[in-house]
Symmetry: C2
Subunit: 339 residues, 2 copies
């Protein structure tokens, strides 16, 4: 760790520390010659401002917290981190991750302690945490800035970034229909997960628009984990009139359906079409490749982090909310075909 401080730079440059501070922070009021001299010296001595001192004085920590729960695929959280990190690095921020321990005791001591330490300039909240009223209450009580990714409700409560899950699921269902499928099964996500709900609604709407009567048993419960996809697939395929296509609310569960099919000796897509949602790493590596909705997870997290750094999410302006919508697209692979 370099031991040189702003004082050393100031001395050697023959200016006051305040002037050096101004140069560092790109403030006005420094002549071009002075500025150049100071900058050279900073470069030459390899000076780095001390973050703690800076934080103490300016009351900003340059720390962004990303809060999530590990439900379903690790992929989701991974992509969120990738996107948030891009935005953080661009702006010279660091990214602290805060994991919510458990769906049940969401506000376990861990998270609450961490939030109350008061270190964060702002938080990025991802589903399903972004819809947890207890957690939101804690955050707001702290007076923290936050931006949400794909929230499910309280849209006026904070800025957020989203994509149209419902429309995407609608499109996907329509595509299966156009391929000639009429008995289309759906595997649901966790009950309290907004995206899951919206995907189900998109499926329902598309079916209803086409005059199809969706039998209750066509919708199987799932929890976004692969195992639940296997079970749900097993259940659907065991019906007296099994579906000819299954739409899983995420890729992991779709993978489970592939397993369920192979277990029963059914070929995909010959005997059964299977489609998913996410376009994670599994989708392109399965055989056959999985037709799925590409969700721009990293981009959403990046946008949210950007908004946070730009000052949206500040509690003082919480009434002025903002939203950014990103686009999805369907990726056609081999797991679905016409009937």
């Amino acid at each position: 760790m370099s031991d040189i401080t702003i004082v050393d730079i100031a001395k050697q440059a023959g200016v006051s520390i305040k002037t050096v501070s101004r140069v560092i922070n790109r403030e006005e009021g420094v002549g071009p010659a002075t500025r150049a001299r100071v900058e050279d010296l900073i470069e030459k001595l390899g000076y780095r401002p001390n973050v703690s001192a800076r934080s103490l004085s300016s009351r900003r920590s340059y720390l962004i917290g990303v809060v999530f729960m590990r439900v379903g695929a690790y992929h989701y959280v991974g992509e969120v981190q990738v996107g948030a990190m891009r935005a953080c690095r661009r702006a010279g921020y660091h990214m602290v991750i805060e994991q919510v321990d458990d769906p049940g005791q969401a506000r376990g001591p861990g998270l609450e302690q961490a939030l109350k330490a008061g270190r964060f300039d702002g938080l990025v909240l991802t589903p399903p945490v972004c819809d947890d009223p207890e957690i939101l209450a804690i955050i707001e009580a702290q007076g923290l800035s936050y931006v949400r990714v794909a929230p499910d409700r309280d849209f006026g409560r904070s800025p957020y970034v989203f994509m149209d899950d419902q429309q995407a699921a609608h499109d996907m269902t329509a595509r299966l229909w156009d391929l000639g499928h009429r008995r289309i099964g759906f595997i649901d996500g966790p009950a309290d997960h907004g995206s899951a709900r919206r995907r189900r609604e998109g499926y329902m709407t598309a079916m209803a628009e086409r005059g199809a009567r969706v039998k209750p048993e066509w919708i199987a419960p799932g929890d976004f984990m692969p195992l639940s996809g296997l079970e749900a697939g097993d259940r659907l395929l065991g019906l007296s009139e099994p579906p000819t296509a299954i739409f899983a609310a995420n890729d992991s569960m779709a993978m489970g359906v592939l397993s369920a099919a192979s277990k029963r000796g059914l070929s995909v897509p010959g005997d059964l079409s299977v489609v998913g949602f996410d376009d994670g790493p599994l989708a392109e590596s399965s055989w056959p490749g999985l037709t799925t909705v590409h969700q721009p997870i990293a981009e959403m997290a990046e946008a949210a982090t950007e908004m946070l750094i730009e000052g949206f999410g500040d509690p003082r302006f919480r009434s002025r909310t903002a939203a950014r919508q990103l686009d999805y697209h369907i990726v056609e692979r081999g797991s679905s075909t016409s009937r």
Copy 2:
């Protein structure tokens, strides 16, 4: 954010701020009565020490950096984070994640900038980053503490946590042999990945011990990604004398092998036994379930973080290295059977 400081507590308790500081930090030299009074007041007013001030004064940031690269399964990084977070929370630390941008330009500006900001009390390095000489050089030049998880070389260079990959792969190979398999294929990991190399060596040793001549074409290249497992599996199964069992160096690639088998109409484990390494979420959700080596990833990261916080890894004592070994075990599922 609470605006009460140590001064407020001191005033109300009728003691000096230093005494309050002592109570907070559980230092000696405070009478039981005084201590109780101060603690009550802290509790009552909801006082939280200001982290920046504390860092500035004590020269510790209470920030641990976890450095990784997203190679192969997201699962690995996820588990690392889970483990490191457990240790961090126990000790009141926060966890900053630092992603290495790209294998090629490992020390992209992002990571280097982040490290040089000098915020970290210490770093946890995971493979393959923990073996990157350039990154190690940067870290050591900064005088940073670090502990490595499953390093591949330079064992005297820092403390580390590990498990015996080679022995585990040896055991797994032996188990396949005992099931009657003689032509056992192996799918390798990335070339520069130490764990991958050790697993291959375990396989080679076990085969050699049993007098088996491993044909070069039995070892197929892979990169820990599922797609490479599919390709490698395809290749192995296309041999004129295909293996009766395939051991993939991780679960993701084993999943690819399952796909390759199903693509060729081979049943697992009837026509082919498949085993993996990791015991990630995929292993139990595939059909059939994957026989694999359970790797205690979270526990290794937790142990490493603990060591870091306890002061191992301090550059002043770098010569006094320490190592902790954790245990693996083989999880038997349905994907392997006797021949």
